[in-house]
Amino acid sequence: MSTIEKVRAAQSSLVERNISRETRDGILFALPYLALFSVFLLYPLFKGLYMSFLDWNSFQPSQSTFIWFENYIRMFQDPMFWSSLRATVVFVVLTVPTLVVLGLALALGVNRQIKGKRLLRLIYFSPYVLTVSIVSLIWRELYSPDYGPLNYYLGFFLQDPPAWLNSFTWAMPAVALATIWWTVGFNFVILLAARQGVSPRLYEAARIDGASSWRAFKDITLPQMRPAIVFVTIVQFITSFQVFGQVFIMTEGGPGNSTQSLVMYLYRIAFAEGQFGYASAIGYFLFLVLVVISIINFKVAGDSTNE
């Protein structure tokens, strides 16, 4: 064997050793997260699917009986399920568009040449770092029909201001308004960053061309900010669909279940009534709905960015 061949052989074995070392180290580095991920995310996901086919026996889980699709059939026949789905959709409709549009308006406003940008950003964003309990408790006070400040001031304009959280009509809008105060800051800061990322040259060019500010908004701002707008819309949709804390604390689902959201219904079925099988079925069905909606969302968003 020539020297060159020896070196080549040594090199190739080194390469092979490196490849196996790469595989070994790669897996070692991935392992800690994968362990947590498998045990606390993947395993429950499959267990939940299995549980959704069981008539769960909370005293002796091993004695639970396999009942195929009965939980799912029961769900479709459960008026409470439909009413909580309806309440959730109402909440989504009230919050998602408002949160995106208001977030965008505030972002575009603060992006202008104005004094006190940092102060404004601090104020708009600040409620987002509060926990849902704090937000709900404060707004419950504000909404009080007897001594709350909101109805005192509304009393100057309205003969009969709404009873907010005690009213069938106004309870959900009230919860939505508190939610908007709480989370619009998230959309605001993300959209502000996106707006600041739009090159000023585009606007200069538009000004030279004599475009109106409305045209500039429609033809530059919106298309340039599109990915960020799509992002906050999807995130907002998923978050609003899972609303729990606000209704749980502010209304406990009332009056008369009018604000009971899906997650709250699921929580009640599972942890107040101990019907784990049925609760799993509801959870799984909603998961599938959300997956389908997300895929459509991503498709729509993807198609429009390809234009």
Partner: protein
């Protein structure tokens, strides 16, 4: 600015007028909104310091005629707020530390190592993004219960450490790290572990700071899951505890708002100090998504 002025004004003068009017409108809208945003805080603080007669007054008293700390004294005497504060801090800190370490490790592996199944694993983690809390709520509860972890801080720490958001964010950052840096270190005889601790981690400091802050705030503020798995008052986190403190007894808005203020204070102070970084951490999600 009378009508006569307006019509008599030169063309340019009118333009400036209009622009100034628009500017004024923007200021009024932005600062007006800001004022509305501050009102709930003001009401919370004011109610927590008011005597009972003014709490239930039909006319709002934004500034109490006489300041009382009796609601605060009562909350501190009756509710284990400090215990909840310690619990919350422990849970949020532990989760943050675990997330930053394990997420950066797997992101390093997914972007800089080639091993069989790597792509499938990454796809699986990304897909799990969509798993909402309610799907796993019930089976996860049975798991935590089977492991004997109910009422333990681990019941919150472990499931929250499995969230995929951090992996996703780190992968974005590691992708931007040039391969040459790592190849050079390999030639210098560094082991993978040395590369991770001596080269990768120092370069990832900004990403780690952002993710830490975000994870900390996110975990600190969780409500539903701690409500399910922490069942004894001694084990509560602040978000769960404050609700029970506020609703367990006879209805007392002053007491409620004092508890709320105390519960909001720690994280709000953190926010005031680190607002730039917290805002950046949130914005990072938007730019990578």
């Amino acid at each position: 600015m009378s009508d006569a002025n307006r019509t008599a004004g030169l063309r340019t003068g009118r333009l400036i007028d209009r622009r100034q009017l628009k500017r004024l409108g923007v200021y009024v809208a932005l600062y007006g909104t800001a004022l509305l945003f501050l009102a709930p805080y003001a009401w919370m603080i004011s109610t927590s310091l008011k005597p009972e007669s003014e709490v239930f007054s039909l006319v709002p008293h934004w500034i109490p005629s006489e300041v009382t700390v009796k609601w605060y004294a009562q909350v501190l005497a009756e509710a284990p707020i400090f215990q909840w504060l310690i619990n919350t801090t422990l849970i949020a800190t532990a989760t943050t530390v675990i997330v930053v370490i394990v997420d950066s490790m797997i992101a390093f592996s997914l972007t800089k190592f080639d091993w069989p199944g790597r792509k499938a694993v990454f796809a699986l983690i990304m897909a799990s993004f969509m798993v909402p809390i309610y799907v796993n709520m019930v089976p996860l509860y049975t798991l935590i219960s089977d492991l004997g972890l109910l009422n333990s801080p681990l019941a919150v720490i472990l499931p929250f450490s499995a969230f995929p958001l951090g992996v996703f964010l780190f992968v974005q950052f590691f992708d931007g790290l040039p391969d040459e840096v790592i190849e050079a270190a390999l030639i210098d005889g560094f082991s993978s572990f040395q590369i991770y601790t001596r080269i990768v981690l120092p370069l990832m400091k900004p990403a780690m700071a952002s993710l830490s802050l975000f994870t900390f705030v996110y975990t600190w503020n969780q409500f539903l899951w701690p409500l399910i798995v922490l069942q004894g008052s001694e084990t509560f986190t602040l978000p769960v505890g404050v609700v029970t403190a506020a609703t367990a007894r006879t209805f007392q808005p002053g007491l409620e708002m004092a508890a709320t203020f105390l519960a909001a204070l720690p994280l709000f102070l953190v926010f005031l100090v680190l607002q730039e970084q917290i805002v950046k951490a949130v914005q990072m999600q938007g730019t990578t998504g």
